[in-house]
Symmetry: C2
Subunit: 138 residues, 2 copies
DNA sequence: CAGCAATTGTTTAATCGGAAACTGTATATA
DNA sequence: TATATACAGTTTCCGATTAAACAATTGCTG
């Protein structure tokens, strides 16, 4: 059977799509991981580090340091869990919520542009497929 | 209109899918970028750094250092372009070709497993959609 | 309940990545 | 042809990521 070329490989296609989109967002002033972190916290505040790392597919040491920086910037804060003192529960600050709101707008605008030019029905289908794909491979 | 949740955002879904797949390949002993680089060179040897960086969505300084490491390991080599001495043309060494072959096998096996469990027709459609999506956003 | 194992998260040391400045070469313009 | 401008890569400096070791707390088992 014939050898597959690079753009027939899912791993390559995902890397390319991810990097291009992530770069474009960076250019809009949005750090993808910071935004995703704040967004998760806005949807379910109080998550411990471990769950957060799972939700974002970050490893724990990386997350610890990302959180350190965001705590410095007062975007999020840590609350030790009284029931299990190993755990640290994370929350979004007011400042974080404000920044999230502004970044939400930029992300939505940018994705709207991208999805429009790609075709909205196709974009919707792509997202649905990616969602179920992620469930499969996790 | 209602606020979109994180998994309705393409940027998040792509980041998740990419990271999970990339991690699983790392666990199989395949560095995604190194593999992609070798694969590009096997398909079109002699590409200059700039084109390579484009093909892989890497920025030039990052690519320079990735290539430095791979030259150390004798997987690839540089050849200055005599027609334009600013350019450096990259080639895959025999050792690189051997390593590529072995890694191709692991990538193909892993993706086959993943695509089987996801459903092969859907996987094919997903790849096609990603390919045209990338064309759109680049 | 004493001691050992598992868990949750952080720290450390080394590697890697990115933005900006820099080197060398080619091209355009006067 | 001299000077300026654009182009191709690399280097530098700093911030970010990773794997491995570590600390603290909880849970299990004899």
């Amino acid at each position: 059977m014939a050898e597959r070329s690079l753009n027939e490989h899912l791993s390559h296609l995902l890397a390319q799509a991810n990097r291009h989109l992530s770069r474009q967002l960076t250019a809009e002033g949005v750090s993808l991981d910071q935004w995703r972190l704040m967004k998760v916290l806005s949807e379910s505040g109080g998550l411990p580090m471990g769950k957060l790392a799972e939700e974002l597919a970050l490893n724990l040491p990386t997350l610890t340091k990302l959180v350190d920086r965001m705590v410095q910037d007062a975007l999020v804060y840590r609350v030790p869990d009284p029931a299990d003192r190993r755990k640290v529960r994370m929350f979004l600050s007011d400042k974080g919520a404000a920044m999230l709101a502004s970044q939400n707008k930029r992300v939505e605008e940018h994705e709207a542009k991208v999805e429009d030019s790609y075709g909205n029905e196709d974009a919707q289908r792509l997202k649905t497929m990616l969602e179920s794909f992620i469930k499969q491979i996790v």
